[in-house]
Symmetry: C2
Subunit: 434 residues, 2 copies
C-alpha cells in the first residue's frame, strides 16, 4: 500500500525553521542552580559571554550561513519557560531534595527572555557576544553552543544522499552501543550524560540518553540536560561551573580579594543550598594553588570535579589533599567530566576503584562521536572544541587559568596578574580535542 | 509538535497480516526463465518440491507458529501476476535481449495461481510439500524459503525493545557498508544480489540492494529478485538451476538416458533461448563427471556457475576443462554464488583476475548477515541452511549428488544408483553453513 499523509507532507515542505533549541529547559542543570545564586546575590552584575572556537582550523563562518545562525538565535529569544516546565522545576526533587528552587525565583524565571546578541565575522570565525545582566546572559551559553554545533552538522549533512545519512547514523549507533557494552562490564560504574553543549544534535543526544538508560540500567544516573531529564523521567545532574569563580574574581578589588574569591564562592554556594550540592570545581585558577590555599572546611565538601588535568593525575592530587587534611577519600566523591571516553573511563575507574567514590560525566564523546562514521570521507562531523565563556563582569576582564594553559581564557595582561597571584604551580599544557 | 496520523495508527493496529511475499515477482529471475522452458516443453510433468532444513539443530516448528506459517502461505496463494508486472516482463530487455518471454507464455502466466501445500510437523521440523504440475510447484520454492526464513526472524524479534531492534539494524547496516567499502577496492568487480531465498526479510533485502547500488555503482550489475529489479530499475540476473537436470534425470529411462540427461537439458535451453543465457551449472551430479563426459559444444557456452566446491578449486577445474578443449578462458565467464562473502570474493577475485571473466552472486551473506548484531545474546538471527528441492517427478524420485555430499538430496538407494552411473570422482565433504 502506498500511502502518504498529505497534511504531514505539506507541513514538512513549508517549515519556516527546524529549531535546534525548542525549550529554555534545553540547557545544563547547573546553569539553573547557578542562576538562582546569581539572581539572589548578584542581580546587579553585568556579564559578557563570548563564543570561543579553540579549533581555529575549522572556519565556522565559512561553514554556517549567517542567516541560519541568526534565525536559530532569534528563535531562542522567542522562547519562555512554560508553565509545565516551571511546575516540574517546582515539584520535582533534585538530588533527593525538595523545593530546590524558591517560588520567587521561579516566578521571576517565568518572565525571563534571553537578551539580544551581537554577531559579526572575522577571519572565518563568528564573533558572537552576549551583553547584559549576568542573570540573563548566563542562559545563552548552552543554547549558543548547541546551535553552532548543530548548524555545523546540518551544513555538513546538507544535500547528502538518503543512504549516506542512513549509514552515518547506523555506524554512530553501532559504535555507541559497543561503548555501552564495554562500560557495562564495570559493575560499580556511576555515569551521567554531560553532552548537551557539544552534541551532534538534540535528537541524537536524546537517542544517546535513551541508549544509556536501556544499556546501562542503574549505572546510568541521569543527564545534565534539564529538558531530557524531565521528558525521560531521569535525574537532572550538575552543580556549578567556572563562571562563578571567574566573575567573582573579576569583581574582586585587589590581589587579596582575588585570592579569596574562589572560596567566597563556595561559601555562598553552601549557604544558598543549605549544605547540599557540595561539589568543588578546583581548577579555575589552578588546582594546586586552590588546594594549597584552601580553608580546612573545603575538605568537608562531598566531592571535587577536576576539569583540566588528566583524570588520574587530577584525582590523585585531590586524594592527597583529603589525606593531608585527615579525611578518608573512601567517603568522598570524584566527578570526572573532562573529555572522557570509554578508554579513559575504564582506566580511571580501575585506578580509583575502592579508593574513592567516583562518578563520570560523559560529554562530547558520548553525544558527538561521529568520527569516521560518514561514508563520504569527511572530518566535518568530528567534534570541535567550542566554548562560550564569560569574558567580563561589570566591565572588568574575566579570566580562567585552568590547569591546562591551552584551556586558559582572558586578556593576556590579566592572565599574567592572575598567575602572579595564584602561582603557576602544577599547570601543564596538553592538547584540547573536545 | 506532537502529531499522530490517526488513520495510519488505526490501520497499523488492525493489520490482519503483514505479508512477507507481496508479489509473485518476488522470486528469483531464473525461476521465470526455467518456468518458460517447463511450460513449453514439460507441461505434463508433475513435480514435488519439499522444504529441507539442513540446520537440524534449529527446530523451526518450535520457533514459528503454524498458524502464521499457514497465513503467509495462504496469502501467496491469493496472489496473481498483476498487469503492470506482466507488461514489464513483456516490455523489458533482459541481458540485452528483447521479448525474452513469449506473449503466449505471459498470457498463461496471467492466470497462474500457486497450488495448495501440505504442512505437518515432525521432530520439531515442518514437513512442507508442494505437489502438482511442475510449472506451478516450481513457483513455490522461493516464496516458501523467504517465508520460513522471515517468520523465524519475526519470531526472534517479537517483543524486543524498540532500542534493541534499532541497534540490531544499525549494526547490520554498518557491517554491510564496511563490506561494500572493501569490495569497492576491487576495480573490475562484477557483482549481483542472489539473496532472495535466505534473506532476513524483504525490506532488508531491498535495503541491501539499494546499498549495493549506491555503494558499488557500476560494479553492481543487478539482482536476482525480479520485483526489486523492476521497482529499482535494475537488471534481473539469473539463468537456470539444479531442478532442470534433476527432473530430467528422474524422468530418464535407464542409466544411459540418465547419463545423457544433463546435456539434453543444456541443449533444450540453448534452443529455447536462441543461444542466449548460456551458463552451465555443472555440479548437479558431480562436476568432474559432468566435464569428463561433456560433448564438445559445452565448451562453447559462455560460462559456468560452479555451486558446491570451494570457489578457487571449482574455477580451476573449469579452466582446465576449457584449456583441454582448446578454448581461451579469458573469453569465458565464471559465476561464483555458493555461500560467498567478502573474504572469499576477495580471494577468488585476486586468484582469477586476468585469467577469466568473473561475476559474483552474493546471497545469504549479503541479505542475512546479522550474526552478533542483536544486543540480546542470540544466534537466532544467524542464517540457516534451508532449501526447497524437487524430490520427485511424475512419481519418480529426484536426486542431487552435488560435489559436496553434505548438499546431496534424495533417496539413499537412488543416490547410490546415480553414484554408480556418474561416479563419485572429485566429490568432497565440506560443512554447509548457508
Amino acid at each position: 500500500m502506498l500511502h502518504t499523509d498529505l497534511a504531514t507532507r505539506a507541513y514538512n515542505q513549508g517549515w519556516r525553521l527546524d529549531p535546534i533549541v525548542r525549550s529554555l529547559l534545553d540547557t545544563d542543570f547547573y546553569k539553573l542552580l547557578m542562576l538562582q545564586m546569581i539572581w539572589r546575590r548578584h542581580p546587579q552584575v553585568d556579564a559578557t559571554f563570548e563564543l570561543i572556537n579553540r579549533s581555529r582550523t575549522v572556519r565556522l563562518a565559512d561553514v554556517i550561513p549567517e542567516s541560519e545562525l541568526r534565525a536559530q538565535l532569534d528563535h531562542v529569544r522567542s522562547l519562555r519557560f512554560t508553565r509545565r516546565e516551571l511546575i516540574w522545576l517546582a515539584g520535582n526533587t533534585f538530588y533527593g531534595r525538595e523545593q530546590m528552587f524558591a517560588p520567587e525565583f521561579l516566578a521571576w524565571l517565568a518572565q525571563v527572555q534571553l537578551p539580544d546578541y551581537e554577531l559579526s565575522r572575522q577571519d572565518g570565525q563568528y564573533l558572537l557576544r552576549f551583553h547584559g545582566p549576568w542573570m540573563l546572559t548566563t542562559l545563552w551559553e548552552i543554547p549558543a553552543l548547541a546551535i553552532v554545533n548543530e548548524l555545523r552538522v546540518r551544513s555538513t549533512l546538507q544535500g547528502r544522499g538518503r543512504f549516506a545519512l542512513d549509514v552515518t547514523y547506523a555506524r554512530a549507533k553501532a559504535r555507541l552501543w559497543d561503548k555501552l557494552e564495554r562500560l557495562r562490564r564495570l559493575p560499580d560504574l556511576v555515569l551521567s550524560d554531560f553532552g548537551t553543549r557539544r552534541r551532534h544534535s538534540f535528537l541524537w543526544q536524546r537517542w544517546c540518553v535513551e541508549a544509556l538508560k536501556e544499556g546501562l540500567g542503574e549505572r546510568f544516573i541521569g543527564t545534565s540536560n534539564v529538558l531530557i531529564a524531565m521528558e525521560s523521567d531521569l535525574e537532572a545532574i550538575g552543580t556549578n561551573a567556572h563562571e562563578l569563580p571567574m566573575v567573582m574574581a573579576a569583581l574582586a578589588d585587589g590581589d587579596e580579594a582575588l585570592r579569596a574569591a574562589p572560596y567566597r564562592v563556595l561559601d555562598d554556594w553552601r549557604e544558598l543550598y543549605s549544605g547540599n550540592l557540595l561539589v568543588v570545581l578546583p581548577d579555575a585558577f589552578g588546582t594546586a594553588a586552590f588546594l594549597r590555599d584552601a580553608p580546612d572546611w573545603v575538605a568537608d565538601w562531598t566531592g571535587f570535579r577536576p576539569d583540566s588535568l588528566p583524570p588520574i593525575e587530577a584525582g590523585e592530587q585531590v586524594l592527597r589533599f583529603w589525606r593531608e587534611r585527615g579525611r578518608d577519600p573512601r567517603e568522598k566523591l570524584l566527578i570526572f567530566s573532562d573529555g572522557m571516553d570509554v578508554d579513559s573511563i575504564e582506566r580511571t575507574y580501575h585506578h580509583f576503584h575502592g579508593k574513592v567514590r567516583m562518578s563520570f560525566g560523559w560529554g562530547t564523546n558520548l553525544t558527538n562521536d561521529f568520527r569516521g562514521c560518514a561514508p563520504f570521507a569527511s572530518d566535518q562531523l568530528d567534534p570541535i572544541s567550542l566554548v562560550c565563556k564569560v569574558t567580563s563582569a561589570n566591565g572588568r576582564p574575566a579570566v580562567k587559568l585552568s590547569d591546562n594553559p591551552a584551556k586558559a581564557t582572558g586578556d593576556p595582561a590579566e592572565i599574567a596578574r592572575y598567575l602572579r597571584v595564584f602561582g603557576g604551580e602544577g599547570r601543564s599544557e596538553a592538547p584540547v580535542v573536545v
